[in-house]
Amino acid sequence: MNTASEFVGQTNASDTNLPPSEREERAMQAFAQHFGAYTALNLESCIHCGICADACHFYIATEDPKYTPILKAEPFKQAYRRESGAMAPLFKMLGLKKKVTADQLAEWQELLFDSCNMCGRCSLICPMGIEVAEMIEVGRRGMADAGLAPKELGDRARLQAETGQPEETARPYADVLKDIAVQNGLEVALDKDRADVMVCLPRTDLDRNPESVAAMIKIMDRLGADYTFRSDALIAENYGYYAGSRGLQKRITKRITDTAKKIGASLVIVPECGHAYTALRWQAADILGEELPFRVRHITEYLGEMLADGRLKLNQVNGESYTFHDPCQLVRKGGVMDSPRLLMDAMGVDLREMRNKKAFSFCCGGGGGVNDLESARKLRHRAQELKLREIDHTGADRLMTTCSDCRVAFDDAGEHFKWNKKTESLIELVAANIKE
């Protein structure tokens, strides 16, 4: 039998031609894959207190109740109650829980994609301990399998699954990487047959922040690591995760894990990209159904380990103050709590913390693929205003983070609001301050 994820893995997460009945059936199959005890506990426990809205930047910015996080999971909740909950036969018999319809799914597209970064802040506030963000993620999976993922995400996911690149470029990213190395006078280890460490890169950095790419090369080189970039597994982002397609996410993940296995890597380094970290560090093994034979670490975790070992020594930076944005997927959902601050501390960075920091940090507004959605731009800017105000309130001269997606989001918002800050990369600061 074909599972929903399998046939969506072969087709398209954004498909305008699917008949409504097929959309409904596919969404239901996707939801059914997630009907487990933990999901049931999450869905059964909701007391409709609405407090999750108070954690969500989209609700706080707009005060529109439709952005209440748990409401975004409603189609999934409804499907569970009707098909799998303890009282499902009763609900079905009395017609108390209606089937999730294609119209309803279409109505929820904005709520699940445009107005949710899957940042997980709502999961921290729930007095019942419900993992609200995970329920929304399952909602996205239903949408993708029903062909209702936004076209920007669905198309990129499919392209990335097929080619390794989420968009067509004039030159392959491996060539862009080589160019960046040459322009910065660096030698890059690319496509080695065997290496202990495999390093990935964010597409957005290859496109927009070549200095960050150069910083990654420089760091790996200075640390004397037996590393390689691989042109067949270069891109860290996983558009399958963004689009909600488990099938495509699996194929994209497999490209990286297969390559890492092939070259005998014991460590895969995820660059400055939050969602890539969640997809590879926490979801890859589950989605592939096997334990990974290598470790996965974010670049700041790796550097933190090097710092602790004494293999990385850093110069002191002087001058302007910084505030640091904690990327949601790293901190709140990934547990990368301390290593960025260890690095900043080692460099003597004058850090001015935001009121909502670490696990409570507000999202940049662009995560979860929202950066890619033109339809979400206006709403995103409203949510981002909150964050920009909080950053300004620190009085810091500069803003730094360690996620390329966050940088894109802040820079876009900065342009929109004519803001006086550009977002900087922690890795670039480290690379510039390694003691020779």
Binding site: E44, H48, C49, G50, P65, A86, E131, K333, G335
Partner: protein, 222 residues
């Protein structure tokens, strides 16, 4: 058989059967769905993650300071009436006598608090429930997400609380009838319990624990 005898005889027994078997079914039906194995490399041992789960089970009752400026009022009202309900049900003298009788135990150690204090707690609890109800009507988020379960559960709770206070203060007619109304409404609450949101009284512990456990395994805050 008088209505009072009916309410604390066959109706109570029926209600208790529905309650016990209903609650068990709701809990078992969750477990039967099965737990998924997590294959990612954990940051901490299962034992340490379990400690994180226990901590989360406790500390989710205390809101994180980062959220308080938006949530303090709603949480104070919500927790306030829950604490009131617990006090009335668990240490109010007539209820303690009821439990002892129901379970057939002597339990001389079971403390009670003076009826005057319980009366004040009851009135305050009803007042807090009223504020919570008004909030559910007025707050755009609560209004949007509320359903039949929310309103019906509140209605039953009001019936139980108001009839109880009426019985204590001797208002609303013959004592036996008011008491019967109180016990009948409590029986309805027991019958409704496994069908609606009242089940959160049982789900709250595993739900908090497992989320805390999972977060701890990742090294993430909970």
């Amino acid at each position: 058989m008088t209505i009072l005898e009916f309410s604390r005889g066959p109706m109570l027994h029926f209600a208790l059967i529905v309650f016990v078997f209903g609650v068990l079914w709701r809990l078992v039906s969750v477990v039967l769905l099965g737990w998924r194995k997590s294959r990612a490399e954990n940051r901490v041992s299962p034992g340490k993650a379990a400690v994180g789960g226990v901590v989360a089970t406790g500390n989710r009752s205390w809101p994180h300071p980062e959220f308080l400026d938006r949530t303090a009022f709603g949480e104070a009202v919500g927790y306030g009436y829950h604490i009131g309900l617990f006090a009335i049900v668990l240490v109010g003298a007539p209820h303690v006598a009821f439990w002892k009788n129901l379970f057939g135990i002597n339990a001389a150690w079971w403390p009670t608090i003076p009826s005057g204090i319980i009366s004040v707690i009851s009135v305050v609890t009803i007042f807090l429930m009223f504020i919570a109800t008004v909030r559910r009507f007025m707050h755009p988020v609560l209004r949007r997400i509320s359903n039949f379960d929310d309103w019906f559960t509140l209605a039953i709770l009001y019936a139980v609380m108001v009839s109880g206070v009426m019985a204590v203060f001797g208002i609303g007619g013959r004592y036996e009838l008011v008491l019967a109304a109180h016990i009948i409404s409590f029986n309805v609450l027991l019958i409704w319990f496994p069908f609606g949101k009242l089940m959160h009284a049982f789900y709250i512990f595993p739900s908090r624990f497992i989320t805390g456990y999972k977060h701890e395994k990742k090294g993430a805050a909970s």
